[in-house]
Symmetry: C2
Subunit: 461 residues, 2 copies
């Protein structure tokens, strides 16, 4: 179900596209001036390459630069290549340093060189500093444009400073108090507004400051926002010197990016930052094929288990009919446990030190699930497959073999499912790769071993 | 790899727990006063039930109420039951209405009655209004405490009003301008700070306001934050009357909640709001068993397909050995496509109208993947399983049967994988349920049909 306002916006953007087709640029210019930058960026996504610079130049200045930050790297690059040096300089002047860095990270070397050539020396130095931090670290996503106050300032002086320099700051609502570049406190504009204009910053600032380190993982940074409800978080170096801040809008982007990465890893896809519709066929293939190959080859074990049982199986082919059911149920049981644990780890709700408690809980859940599935499969096989469909090969003993295997398989699957992600985390890997596909492959092999052992034992094969 | 600051905080909280054990309440009181509310809530999670009211009463007043909002419903309820009416009234006075509503939604009727009895008439009316909105709608997550300005006010007057009423507002940074309760504009504190104190609000406000409707889904609300980088979004009724706002911290909670729900649905688990460690064995079982049962029963089809081929299979049991590999690879291929599409839909990157383009893309990716997997499986089966392991049953014809089935299976899987989620969305269901488990079950049956047809054809069975 699509949202009404959404539909109306989409329709309006469609109309604007038609104006572009019809070359009605003066009408278009007026209409564009009334859009929000994020909506302009959405419009530009559907504009043909050749029209992009023309339409972009129709934008009023105050919208243009902000629109630029909302655009995809590919279109940004295209625009930059159409810019004169003067235009490029003007656009870069309007950007926050973190947005420039985000952009640079996606550009080829010659474009980067041109960008750096057209920024002033101080900004260039900041850009180089930020580019130096490891990918996905707090340092790489931070911005250096924040309000910096001193403890001896009065509230009135603080407002003076905010009014003076605030327009170029990414946020003014959280201000940072430093002494010799060391972070000593934070104060919000709300605190300032509610305080006596003559009081000292030192008296109203919060000194219990939560900060992150430049090298902290961006996912950890985003978690702090969801825990403390911050609008911004300060980033400090090893000596507690303030080097930048991360704002909540960037934290949301990080959260969404990390969630997407987890989804992709769980589905055995190499993560990518690119939206699906922008990713080429060949690129999509490259992200998927290595895992498919790896998982296919690892299914060799299941094959070998079946082959080793081949002679006996020839005498009781009916057993083959239940292999998919056993394998799928095992896989699903394992996925349920592994996805729950992976998500819990990523939300910080599950901790490694609880591993024994978790395994114990999963064993009990597994037994409950196993018993129900076991009884259900026994009745289904014996009554439906056997009596109702009249398959004479299906004896109660066959049903018993399957249903007993079921309970063991489910138990193994749940334990493997909750253990593997925690083990991965313990060894420093991302737990998300230990999701359905790997769990399934492991559980498949184990459940077949159990199945054939049960069959040998109960059916005396 | 755990974060250093995190580890230090955890250790500090451990020490505080020891202080509680040792009944060192006066030392504890001092230490608690230095914690942030979110950290106190984290501490309280591990405090024994009987100690909870004692420790909570040690908190300084300004921390206590905020800590309360960070706590899990179960502990909130426990505290309320230990509160006197006076204490309860004091705590409720400090809460924002949206936090009170969140709490009420999780409480049994008698506790709700006591809460409502201890709130003033106006708040009680607001609570009832909010409770009236459907679960997961914008109305149900909004707060009614926002700064409301008039267009004829001057900037100085606006500051006066913010100073006067701001302390009780959930955010003061985005102010809403109304006329006859209709939303006519927004103005940020940054705009106000940078404007001339004598200018009119009407002259500096932004009139192109993005708002959501009370009945909009909370996921849509959260998406607006990630699109427009808002700190708050206004919620209006059908007549564009402002009824509340949603703040960015609540939007982050919604995002995380919705992401968790998607993860759970994709793993065939009924979603729950409760953290894993707080969910009982029986409750966890109840969330998982219906889907396991359903999926197990639906595997009946695969069983029936094998049974119908049983006679022929008896003559060529070696074919059984490759069933798991074909099924797993099909399942994995399908999951890759479905998870990509489900995530794209939820991020708004993939739209229903692109379905044909998407299917065409997936077909091309499928053919690329299929050819590689097909050649790899042929070589693996013929050379490794056949010649190297010396299995005489494995002829090049058997390898050819498997490898041709592979290419067809992967293609079917990718197409089914991308189509089913879009179909679900089109019919108004959540696409997330069309993930791995359902795709796998569907693809299993289809791939077995292809396999046996290939076998009949190539091996002349």
């Amino acid at each position: 179900m699509e949202n009404e306002t959404q539909v109306r916006l989409d329709e309006h953007l469609e109309e604007l596209l038609e104006l572009i087709e019809a070359r009605q640029f003066s009408v278009l210019r007026k209409q564009l001036a009334e859009l929000l930058p994020a909506d302009v960026a959405q419009l530009l996504e559907d504009v043909e390459d050749k029209d992009l610079p023309i339409v972009y130049r129709l934008l009023p200045k105050e919208i243009a630069a902000e629109t630029f930050t909302y655009m995809e790297a590919e279109q940004q690059q295209q625009l930059i290549q159409s810019f004169s040096d003067a235009e490029l300089r003007e656009t870069l002047d309007q950007l926050f340093v973190d947005d420039t860095v985000d952009m640079i990270e996606e550009m080829p070397a010659n474009v980067v060189a041109r960008i750096l050539k057209n920024t002033d020396a101080a900004t260039r130095r900041s850009i180089n500093d930020i580019l130096h931090y490891p990918k996905d670290s707090a340092g790489s996503v931070m911005t250096i444009e924040y309000v910096n106050l001193r403890r001896h300032m009065t509230v009135a002086e603080a407002f003076e400073q905010i009014r003076h320099g605030g327009v170029d700051k990414e946020t003014i609502y959280t201000c940072y108090v430093t002494e010799n570049r060391h972070l000593v406190g934070v104060v919000t504009v709300k605190d300032l507004l509610l305080a006596d204009p003559n009081s000292n910053i030192a008296d109203i600032m919060e000194t219990n400051v939560v900060s992150v380190n430049t090298l902290d993982d961006q996912e950890y940074v985003a978690q702090q926002f969801s825990k403390y409800d911050f609008l911004a978080i300060p980033v400090v170096d090893r000596e507690n010197r303030l080097v930048g801040i991360v704002t909540v809008d960037d934290a949301i982007d990080v959260l969404q990016e990390e969630n997407t990465e987890d989804f992709e890893k769980m589905a055995a896809i190499t993560p990518t930052d690119k939206p699906y519709m922008k990713t080429g066929v060949f690129e999509t293939w490259k992200k998927r094929i290595p895992w498919l190959l790896l998982l296919m080859i690892s299914a060799t074990f299941t094959g070998m288990i079946i082959t080793s049982f081949e002679a006996k199986l020839a005498g009781s082919v009916i057993l083959t009919a239940f292999i998919p059911m056993l394998m799928d149920t095992g896989g699903n049981s394992g996925s349920q446990a592994s996805v729950t644990i992976i998500r819990g780890l990523s939300l910080g709700e599950v901790e490694l030190r609880n591993i024994l408690r978790i395994i114990w809980k999963e064993i009990r859940v597994a037994v409950l699930c196993g018993v129900v599935l076991s009884v259900a499969s026994f009745l289904k096989i014996w009554l439906f497959d056997g009596l109702l469909l009249g398959n004479a090969d299906i004896t109660p003993w066959v049903a018993l073999t399957v249903s007993l295997t079921m309970i063991v398989t489910v138990s193994i699957a749940k334990v493997v499912g909750c253990t593997l992600p925690m083990l991965a985390k313990r060894l420093g890997f991302d737990p998300a790769v230990m999701a359905s596909p790997f769990i399934t492959t492991t559980v498949d092999a184990l459940s077949l071993l159990v199945y054939f052992r049960m069959a040998t034992w109960i059916l005396k094969l």
